[in-house]
């Protein structure tokens, strides 16, 4: 039972990460290769602030999310200066720098990572078991989805999509495209940061290996497979990514091979999606 709950928590974390990436890639057309950086800042943020400050869970949580938002402002500054491929390259540089920093810094305990990370405390009740974590992450997903459902019907979101379609036209209408990119990036960072805090508290131990470039690309792939530009797309992508290895278990493949098979199959799905459904399984046809 605990194993199923463990899978459920991981699924919930990846749903949040994919929804977050979708906000940037799907709605703003910002192909960030540093998705794991924000995730990592959320995770390391809660780990470092809670162990150094020792003032419960929620103040470190706010500080961790605040750190993600500050990083989001840096990303939006980059997005205001460079576009398309250059933005991706700039975020790639951020990803590489971030990994080097957490791998070599004393504050993050380098490659040894940080253990004994605080658990969320909700109205005096400490969340510890996989069941509690699955409910806790589920509540966060509900909050995020309710917020995004409202947000997606707002004029602000229309203008975010308009900015993706034609930045010059937005500028021509007397509106600041940088503002809309900034809002989109900050929302994305907020959600990624929440996922990071959940992961750190749930695993109770983090090290740099969870926040690599591979992880960033994986999160992007989940969005591309599920379909970007829609809320349901990243959720389906996360379901495929998390449930795929579970299906492999029924095939009685040895452990060693199964681990590699997972990535091979995922890669194969990605190739097929790009070839036959370039907008993802549930992605909408878009005009360019």
């Amino acid at each position: 039972m605990n194993y199923i709950l463990h899978i459920l928590v991981l699924l919930e974390i990846y749903i949040l990460l994919a929804i977050s990436a979708n906000q940037k890639v799907g709605f703003s057309g910002l192909l960030s290769l540093a998705q794991a950086v924000i995730y990592g800042v959320g995770a390391y943020g809660i780990a470092i602030f809670s162990s150094h400050l020792e003032i419960g869970y929620w103040i470190p949580f706010i500080l961790a999310i605040g750190s993600c938002l500050i990083l989001g402002l840096i990303f939006s500054f980059i997005a205001g200066k460079v576009i398309e491929l250059y933005f991706s390259l700039a975020t790639l540089a951020v990803q590489i720098i971030f990994f080097s920093v957490i791998y070599n810094s004393e504050l993050t305990n380098g490659s040894y990572g940080i253990s004994g990370i605080a658990s969320p405390n909700v109205f005096g009740y400490e969340i510890n078991s996989p069941l509690e974590f699955s409910i806790y992450a589920g509540v966060w997903i509900m909050i995020v989805i309710i917020f995004l459902k409202r947000f997606y019907s707002s004029p602000l979101h229309k203008l975010i999509k308009a900015t993706k379609d034609d930045e010059i036209a937005v500028l021509n209408l007397g509106k600041n495209p940088k503002y809309y990119k900034r809002i989109s990036i900050l929302i994305s960072c907020l959600i990624s940061g929440i996922a990071g805090t959940i992961y750190a508290s749930y695993a109770s131990y983090i090290d740099p290996s969870s926040f690599t470039l591979d992880e960033s690309i994986l999160i992007l792939s989940i969005v591309l497979i599920g379909g970007s530009g829609r809320l349901i797309g990243p959720i389906v992508g996360a379901l495929i990514y998390i449930l795929l290895p579970e299906i492999l278990k029924f095939l009685n493949i040895p452990e060693m091979i199964a681990a590699n098979m997972r990535m091979i199959l995922f890669g194969l799905i990605l190739v097929l999606i790009v070839r036959f459904r370039p907008n993802g399984i549930l992605g909408k046809k878009t005009f360019k």
């Binding site: 707002s154 229309k158 036209a169 509106k175 878009t286």
Partner: protein
């Protein structure tokens, strides 16, 4: 009243002179036809007015104030808007949403209200939607309201792009070959809209090769030749 005053401006790219000591004025409610061969400097002049390109020498004033060195965003916020030759619409939004984006102005609404949208903000959104629909009706484009802009024909996209610009508070509208790629019926429709907006007080500068059609509406005709205005204010031509 003088809207734009350009005095002795010059521009060269890599040593090639595009505009040479150009001076001209555009008054309120003018419809100015800007004619010239390819490379005469017409589009460069538009780029300079919208501050996409900086002038080398001279001075440029809008309503008596210098606009040199302002950002393109500040220029559009001052009320100078350019319609590009290729229609710039938001292809993945429907036509009403396109118009909505043109009217909606986030500066009027606090960030909190933009995100959480209390009743007052929602009412404002409803009003903007209604306004967008009524403008489409006025321009006889209401049948396109729910279509994605990207699914429309080139000509229809051009009309929508023009309608979007018309809906803004812009006072000076720069049109770069507005009739190019349109069939005669659509050109007539566009001419009708330009006349209507001009009566409402908007000023137009039009770059157009369909001189015959443009002359039907223009009040001033400026011919650029090798970066120099060879005739100005020749009302008899229009």
């Amino acid at each position: 009243m003088e809207l734009i005053s350009i005095k002795h401006i010059s521009k060269s790219f890599d040593g090639t002179s595009v505009l040479k000591n150009l001076s001209l004025t555009i008054d309120e409610k003018d419809i100015v036809l800007l004619e010239g061969e390819n490379g005469a400097g017409k589009s460069t002049l538009f780029n300079m007015i919208t501050q996409m390109v900086q002038i080398d020498n001279g001075e440029m004033k809008y309503k008596g104030e210098s606009i040199q060195g302002l950002s393109p965003l500040s220029i559009s916020r001052k009320g100078i808007i350019r319609l590009h030759q290729d229609p710039r619409v938001f292809k993945n939004l429907n036509v009403v949403e396109n118009l909505f984006c043109a009217i909606y102005y986030e500066k009027d609404i606090s960030f909190f209200n933009q995100i959480f949208r209390p009743k007052k903000t929602k009412q404002l959104e409803i009003d903007i939607n209604e306004k967008a629909k009524s403008i489409l009706k006025n321009f006889k484009l209401e049948h396109l309201a729910e279509h994605l802009a990207g699914s429309l024909s080139y000509g229809q996209q051009k009309l929508i792009a023009f309608t979007m610009i018309a809906m803004t508070e812009a006072e000076l509208i720069l049109l770069d070959e507005p009739f190019a790629g349109l069939n005669p019926k659509m050109i007539d429709k566009l001419v009708e809209i330009i006349k209507h907006l001009n009566q409402e007080g908007k000023t137009f500068v039009i770059i157009e090769h369909n001189i015959k059609k443009a002359k039907e509406i223009c009040s001033k005709h400026i011919v650029l030749e090798n970066g120099v205005a060879v005739n100005k204010n020749m009302e008899s031509l229009c």
